[in-house]
Amino acid sequence: MVVGSAMDIVKHCGVARYCYSDFPLGNPCGKPGNKVMQLAIIKQALGLFESAEAPNYTERTAHSWSEDDSWREGYAKVDDSNREELRLRGEARRAEQAANKAAGCSRSAMIAES
């Protein structure tokens, strides 16, 4: 059972049971501080163990992040305001990866998108 946001990535992978939170990446179990929502989401997710009859069974939670949808635009944004910064960040990142490889570190961290 997976509880997560980023439906396109989870569906591309394929999982047995999927409880989808349409929230910013980071809080798939509910908004920080909202204990009622957090409990409801995990209860719904556990219910999938009883309702799913085939793989990739998916349910969307009924909860919204906010009335304002502006949060949807910010993640991994690329525009003229940050294009040069991203190019430089990529160069620095590749140098870091090369140094890690030379030092024998086989596990690089993923790239943070924001």
Partner: protein
Amino acid sequence: MAASDTPFIANDIPYMERTRKFYRAQGYESDYVWAHFPTTPFIQPSKPLQESRVVAITTSMPDTELGRSNRTVYSNPIKPQPQSMYTEELSWDKKATHTNDIASFLPLEQLKALATEGFIGSVSPRFHCLPTEFSQKNTLEKDAPEILTRCQEDKVDLAILVPL
């Protein structure tokens, strides 16, 4: 509800498309390759929820010197519950939210409450940290089998994986 009843809709964020553009803007010539499998394993639970032991698995790391510097599989007791987890290296939305409340991504509090009310049988005495990886081989051949072994040691029936 069948799987096809929960389709991707226009308002859902196209993370794969955004990530491809984000990597290209950083000068990467090859697109990221997300895990994809032609078939998905599936079995029905052998016990009702009320009799099942549930484990939580997170992609965050322990908020310790070791957890911050060495990305590998960790298992920690659920008591005492950690007050924080190390998430800084992960690709969550740092503009829109934060990870200061661990119950928003690691459902230990929720599972304990649901065990107390009898909705589930019990909570695994340990939770597990699974490092995100560029190498699918590390995940498939090392980390996932290791976590499965530890879940079996703890007599876990059901697992909830919460990726950040």
